[in-house]
């Protein structure tokens, strides 16, 4: 599916979407409350059929915590990038997509572990790599602990 069709499809669902940063793939910045709807449509629409979520990650940028989803279709091989910007750093929340793609269950746990972003309705949101008693979210830019060595 071409970028223009994708843009019309996504605009119809989330009117305040904005074009994204990536020059490589079509990217859309979607508000946090619409992400589940957009993801569901992209998965189930027979012309897009994005059944393969191949990357779910986050980044701590100046405009807030970004959650970036990379989707592709196993049949059409087109790629779409979705970005959610969360400005609230105290309690960032976004809806989970683990009911659409099972891979998201563990990718979201990793994001929670390292960034502290909570996912609503996630079946089992707890830390993945670090100890359960770990305090803090290491990959945030303002993370400090006693043994980080900074130059």
């Amino acid at each position: 599916m071409q970028t223009e069709e994708l843009t019309t499809l996504i605009t119809s669902l989330a009117p305040d979407q904005k074009p994204g940063i990536s020059k490589q793939y079509p990217e859309f910045i979607i508000p946090a409350d619409k992400i589940h709807e957009v993801a569901k449509t992209l998965k189930e629409n027979p012309q897009t059929k994005m059944d393969y979520l191949f990357s779910l990650t986050a980044a701590d940028r100046k405009d807030g915590l970004n959650v970036i989803y990379h989707l592709t279709s196993s049949e059409y091989h087109h790629i779409v990038v979705m970005r959610v910007i969360l400005t609230d750093k105290e309690n960032p929340m976004v809806a989970t997509v683990s009911d659409l793609w099972s891979a998201a269950e563990y990718l979201e746990r990793e994001v929670f572990d390292l960034f502290g972003i909570k996912f609503e309705n996630h079946p089992d949101l707890r830390r993945l790599f670090l100890d359960d008693e770990w305090v803090g979210y290491p990959l945030r830019k303002d993370y400090k602990d006693s043994f980080i060595f900074e130059r």
Binding site: I21, S22, K23, Q24, Y25, D51, Y52, L53, F54, S55, T57, A59, D60, R61, I68, H70, S74, H77, V81, S98, D99, W101, S102, A103, E105, Y106, L107, E110, L114, P123, D124, L128, F129, L130, P138, L139, E150, R151
Partner: protein, 373 residues
């Protein structure tokens, strides 16, 4: 989606929990499986990872691009060259430069050699897990030839860091072509031995047919790529979907099998070894001359975000770089194949026995440092 902590207390009185790992001869790395058993049958299985989490992504934010390539070797150490290639390609695409054809050919040759070496180690460990202890030595004996080739050119057997943004660290050894040609002839004679020893054995077939069946929908849903996904009919070879380096210049088949059981995943890898030998043959005689390193003033990715997908021996590796224009990335994320391949194991192992768990985790070919980074 499956059992969670809540179901823990409701389990039947006849069930008991056993831990496999983190130190266990067959988990191939530090991974803990919490297995809930009833007799010999697995009721559910929960993998616990994080024992080898080293914070590679955070560390890389303080290193320059040529420096962080060295960390990628240590993720999936059996596909070290391919990991290096992924970062190198991502940075080169970001900067908008293109390497010479010579570099592309050599990168692909190293990638295919790495693929064969990785599959050899997988085969010998798989046989050993199932009890055929002799396979360990046969696989390692042949792998030594590839490691000798690596050592001659790069100086190191396992973690080479040879491929770097801009090209290669150095030019290849003069004996490179000769040794690879010798290896191709040698291995073509030895690979049928693998079939004789293990593939045709009736006990082996009984242990692997119908075990751990993964349908295509489950594979796509969980994002299982590589030979494990292709064994279920999920056609996910990045070398075909989005070719990079010298892959547009070679002809090879993508091996997929529809059954999705352990045996299918096994056969896919054996056939991939044959295909890699074909690719090597097509490339080895035609390496063009040219520079092996671009003259770059500084390796800095411009402001923006970049994603590169490559096909390692275990699946699709994605490198996602967020850059502010400096010499270090603001955020680098590795979408590793083993991470996705691991978590499907609960679905596959349910209802089977402990002995099957060993076969299934062996057939998924997990390398644990890749999961934890």
């Amino acid at each position: 989606m499956e059992e969670t902590l809540l179901d823990f207390d409701l389990r039947d009185k006849e069930e008991y929990i056993i831990n496999m790992g983190p130190q266990h001869p067959s988990t191939h790395g530090v991974l803990r499986f919490e297995v809930c058993l009833q007799g010999e049958q697995i009721k559910y299985l929960r993998p616990h990872c994080g024992y080898i989490h080293r914070g590679i992504e955070k560390m890389s934010e303080a290193l320059t691009y040529p420096q962080l390539v060295h960390l990628t070797d240590r993720m999936d150490y059996l596909s070290a060259h391919i990991n290096n290639e992924a970062v190198a390609l991502c940075v080169e695409n970001a900067m908008g430069v293109e390497v010479s054809d010579r570099v592309k050919y050599i990168r692909t040759i190293f990638a295919e050699l790495t693929r064969i070496a990785s599959h050899q180690l997988w085969w010998c460990a798989f046989g050993m897990d199932l009890g055929a202890l002799t396979t360990f030595f046969y696989g390692l004996r042949d792998r030594e030839h590839i490691l000798d080739i690596f050592e001659e050119t790069t100086g190191s057997r396992l973690t080479q860091s040879f491929i770097t943004p801009g090209g290669l660290m150095a030019d290849v050894h003069p004996n490179f072509q000769k040794r690879i040609k010798e290896f191709i002839t040698y291995f073509r004679k030895k690979l049928p031995e693998y079939d004789q020893l293990l593939t045709g054995n009736i006990i082996f077939r009984e242990r692997t047919h119908g075990i751990g069946v993964m349908s295509k929908e489950v594979a796509i849903d969980y994002g299982v790529t590589g030979p494990s996904g292709r064994g279920s009919g999920f056609s996910c070879d990045i070398r075909k979907i989005a070719p990079y380096s010298a892959y547009p210049f070679v002809k090879f088949n993508e091996i997929t099998l529809p059954e999705g059981d352990t045996y299918a995943r096994y056969v896919v890898r054996i056939k991939e070894m044959w295909e890699s030998l074909n690719i090597l043959e097509q490339l080895i005689d035609n390496i063009p001359q040219g520079p092996t390193m671009l003259e770059l003033k500084a390796v800095k990715a411009p402001k923006g975000e970049y994603y590169q997908r490559v096909e390692t021996a275990r699946g699709e590796l994605g490198v996602y770089i967020v850059s502010d224009g400096g010499p270090s990335p603001a955020r680098i994320h590795y979408r590793t194949p083993n991470f996705s391949n691991l978590f499907v194991i609960n679905k596959l192992a349910k209802g089977h026995k402990i002995a099957d768990l060993v076969a299934i985790s062996g057939s998924l070919d997990l390398v644990i440092p890749d999961i934890d980074r």
